[in-house]
Amino acid sequence: MKAILDDMPVRGRILAAIVLLALAAAPFVANRYLLSVLTLILYLAYVGQAWNLVMGFCGQLSLGHALYIGLGGYVAALFWLEFGVGPWIGVFAAMAVAMAFGAVIAWLGFRFGIEGVYFSLLTIAFAEFTRIGFDNMAFTGGAGGLFIPYEEKRLGEWWNLRGGQWMYYYIALLLAAGAVTLTAWLARSRLGYQWVAIREDETAARALGIDAFAVKMKAMLISSAMTAVGGVFYAFYYNTLFPSQMFDMGRSIEIIMAPIVGGLGTVFGPVVGAFVLTPMGELLIAATERLGFNAPGTKAVFYGAMLIVIIMLRPAGLWPWLARMLGVWERKP
């Protein structure tokens, strides 16, 4: 922990402290709507960070991270609904199931040399056929979905993720801050350096005796487990689970937008990306609704346009550029 702080310039430490304090104080000043947007931002920063480990640091493009959101959400929700076991236990089952799927994908991809775009297709395929499976499984509610009931008497049971907007906000803040800390620590660790080595030149990394398979496998396991935690949060926040929504390709894209826009392979990139993209998306939706035309694809078009703009203007993402401007340059690992 101390080493992470030592790595940050003084201005960076001050800035991080201010942002963290402001976020901690936000519920006292923000209205309900603003708080829900902030919750969404922090959630996207969290899952973006989880994906960033596998793509940004280890260089393996997963386009099916919705799989782990869906599995995490469904497993914890089923534990709650079927056995009355709360998500504070269910989350471990969710992580285990997501890791099992992640391990199978990683094993298929990395053991049999399914690399690059083929690996990405593999991740999409798994998310898709799991979605189809859930669509047709009766005990998960099938395509009709699964609903977590709103119970007045349970409000305040934060360990069961039952509560009001404040509770969800603080849990999302905790998740995002935890993910940033974990990433900062991993980035400086032996494993983090091995990830970067594999991202930059896998052949050279192997020539140095790095066990590429094990190192990539660890990236997938950590990332899938983290993403599953995000899925649990998502399920208990929105209380509704539909396969077509949880496992959707669009959800996978949503996860990867923040880190790409913010800066792949950086510690703060996913957070910055989430803070830039989400409010703009929300504003856009509000604006189109105000103008009276309801176009469901607006957000997707907006994300696409943002991606093009960012790739053209700041291919390394917003954060490396912003950090230089602010004089808090994070040394890119």
Partner: protein, 234 residues
């Protein structure tokens, strides 16, 4: 030290190595000469554990390592300077060097090896905190060699170490290999620069279409008519 016997390797259906046998004595420089696509890189990578051979034995200090994964082979003390200056561009020079010392066998020796590399390439100490991608081609090759030495290898296989370098830098690289060998490092050298590598080598093999077609001391091959015609243009 290293002996390869009847090694066969296939890339899919294509035969890359055909019954290759060679001997690398302790303390020697062994050159492997051949045209592009003759199988030189395949041979090095198979020894390093990056390709799985279809048959044959690779014995290092009495242990058959054929089919071992590369991280285990590396940890025995077989280092590799891969083709094309494969440094990690966004990592600093020092971080690149440290990547070479992640092997279990090298961890305890890290500091000593770093001093050795800095003594060998003073420029690496000067540029320690600079991103490796900003080094010149020659410096990157030095870094790749230094990084390999961080693993405290007993045998290093150099794959085309002079590729794409200017003539004076090529001389530096080859001199470094000769110096390392004089300090006791056993070397396998795959070079397009046939004349120079044969002069350096105590033993050399000619690889053609995946087969060893000729072998002898460096001097013998330098004097051989076939080698002179095919590789030296004489």
């Amino acid at each position: 030290m290293l002996s390869v016997e009847h090694l066969d390797l296939f890339h899919g259906d294509a035969r890359a190595l055909d019954d290759v046998s060679l001997e690398v004595p302790d303390g020697a420089i062994v050159a492997i000469v051949g045209a592009n696509g003759a199988g030189k890189t395949s041979l090095i990578r198979t020894i390093a554990g990056m390709h799985r051979p279809a048959g044959g034995r690779i014995t290092f200090r009495g242990v058959d390592i054929a089919g071992w994964p590369s991280h285990k082979v590396c940890n025995l003390g077989i280092g590799q300077v891969a083709e094309g200056r494969q440094v990690f561009p966004s990592l600093t020079v020092l971080e690149n060097l440290e990547m070479g010392a992640m092997l279990p066998r090298a961890k305890a020796l890290r500091r000593r090896q770093l001093e050795r590399v800095y003594a060998l390439f003073p420029i690496m100490a000067e540029r320690a905190s600079q991103a490796a991608g900003t080094l010149s081609g020659g410096q990157q090759q030095m870094l790749a060699i230094g990084r390999c030495l961080m693993g405290a290898p007993e045998l290093v296989m150099f794959d085309e170490p002079s590729l794409g370098l200017s003539p004076t830098v090529v001389q530096d690289v080859l001199r470094t290999i000769r110096d390392l060998n004089a300090e006791g490092l056993t070397c396998v050298l795959v070079e397009q620069n046939v004349a120079v590598s044969l002069k350096l080598a105590s033993r050399a093999y000619v690889l053609e279409n995946g087969r060893i077609t000729l072998s002898g001391t460096g001097a013998e091959l330098l004097a051989d008519d076939r080698v002179r015609q095919a590789y030296l243009g004489l």
